[in-house]
């Protein structure tokens, strides 16, 4: 297809771009979605299940947190 005018080739690239957009939207539209009441419950459950092993949440003692300075020091 030689000899296209400038406006024709920019039309065809717009068409390619628009087709990509439509294809992308079709992919996104085909997704199976779940209600927030269910998915949010899972987020909450995850937090609750892991809360005891979250040092920043529970605040661990200076003796077990390497960044917190211990009060006593040993002089050799």
């Amino acid at each position: 297809m030689s000899g296209k005018t400038c406006s024709s080739s920019s039309s065809s690239s717009s068409v390619i771009h628009a087709q990509k957009l439509v294809d992308q939207l079709r992919v996104e539209a085909s997704m199976e979605r779940i209600k927030i009441s269910l998915t949010a419950a899972d987020l909450v459950r995850y937090c609750q299940d892991h809360r005891r092993s979250d040092p920043l949440l529970t605040g661990i003692a200076a003796s077990s947190n390497p960044f917190k300075d211990k009060k006593t020091c040993v002089l050799l």
Binding site: G3, K4, T5, S7, S8, S11, S12, S14, V15, A18, Q19, L21, V22, Q24, L25, R26, V27, E28, A29, M31, R33, I34, K35, I36, S37, T39, A40, A41, D42, L43, V44, Y46, C47, Q48, D49, H50, R51, S53, D54, P55, L56, L57, G59, I60, N65, P66, F67, K68, D69
Partner: protein, 361 residues
């Protein structure tokens, strides 16, 4: 003036224009349908589901270490899996590896460019990756010999056509994921420098990325100046989900520890939580008094706390489930530019335009 060959071309052009109109109508229809589908699932808010959850008490978090040594703005940092080493990069081109327990510098490299906006520690702890205005991502193996010149062993891995904004090793030292001001993300083989997959879809600079926790499979999320957060399939290069609710650039994205959601921080002064299975935003973390942009976000280990660094020099700590702020931390003397929780969740580190890094616990 048109030539006599034009009749066929004119018909072609008319056909193309018709196709274009048809496609535009179809994309508008699909967009409305997407919004409708997402709205149907919006039967409740996250904080309502979390009503029965115990509230959080007072948090006392302080600066426990200050890492001084950079000569200019700290732009990025990452933890080593050993939970004590940190790599940081700066506007002055320096990349420094620190022992966060002792605050000692273990390695330092000067990059050939300024504004090293991205750095990452390799999973093995034996190398670091970094890049910025040089449009590249380079890997430096870390030597046990402190006198060795790291720059000599440098390996150029990624090449973009604009600045490197973020980089991350995948679950091994062998592959690196990058994002760039050129609007793309890319996956690279470290050894050969070969491009394995590229990810196109953002309409402007991509500013950040985060890999899904390894249990949840091969996806990652990216955020950009087009206000969109995109979720990608690493194998196919396909964008599988897209979220556009922020009102400005998205500077930071981070997966919720279960992999079912991710948080974002934006120049619009809000952080938001997006649920991947409901395919929509489920929480906004904001206050009228907070008007400066968010530069970086990260979750505590259980996902209950969201730490966010802001351009007003503060860190706000949010209750992810209830949507309320639980603490505000002061200390930095300029913008907080980067923030990461340590691998074992005992502390988090922030980097700032005030040239320092701070460890908080």
């Amino acid at each position: 003036m048109r030539s006599p060959l034009i009749p066929e071309m004119a018909t072609q052009e008319v056909q193309l224009n018709e196709t274009l109109v048809h496609l535009k109508t179809e994309s508008e229809t699909l967009k409305s349908k997407l919004e409708e589908e997402r709205a149907k699932l919006h039967d409740v808010e996250l904080h309502q589901v979390a009503e029965k959850v115990e509230g959080l008490g007072q948090f006392v978090m302080k600066t426990r270490r200050t890492l001084k040594g950079h000569g200019n703005k700290v732009l990025c940092m990452d933890w080593c899996k050993d939970k004590r080493r940190i790599v940081s990069s700066s506007q002055d081109g320096k990349v420094i590896v620190w022992d966060a327990f002792t605050t000692n510098k273990e390695h330092a490299v000067t990059m050939p460019c300024t504004w090293v906006m991205a750095c990452a520690y390799a999973p093995s702890g034996c190398a670091v990756a970094c890049g910025g205005l040089d449009n590249k991502c380079s890997v430096y193996p870390l030597s046990l010999d402190k006198n060795e010149n790291l720059a000599a062993k440098k390996k150029s891995v990624a090449m973009h056509t604009n600045y490197l904004s973020a980089c991350s090793f995948t679950n091994s030292d062998m592959q690196i994921l990058t994002s760039s001001g050129d609007g793309t993300c890319a996956l690279w083989d470290v050894e050969s420098g070969q491009l394995l997959q590229s990810f196109h879809g953002h309409a402007a600079d991509v500013l950040c990325l985060d890999l899904a926790p390894s249990e949840t499979g091969n996806t990652f999320v990216s955020g950009g100046c087009d206000k969109k957060a995109n979720v990608w399939d690493m194998r196919s290069g396909q964008c599988i989900q897209s979220f556009e609710t922020h009102e400005s650039d998205i500077n930071s994205v981070r997966y919720y520890p279960s992999g079912d959601a991710f948080a974002s921080g934006s120049d619009d002064a809000t952080c938001r939580l997006y649920d991947l299975r409901a395919d929509r935003e489920v929480a906004i973390y904001s206050k009228e008094s907070i008007i400066f942009g968010v530069s970086s976000v990260d979750f505590s280990l259980s996902g209950r706390l969201l730490f966010a660094g802001y351009n007003d020099y503060t860190i706000n700590v949010w209750d992810v489930l209830k949507g309320t702020r639980v603490s505000i931390l002061f200390g930095h003397e300029n913008r907080v530019s980067t923030l990461r929780v340590s691998p074992d969740g005992t502390a988090f580190c922030t980097g700032s335009w005030d040239h320092t890094l701070r460890i908080w616990a």
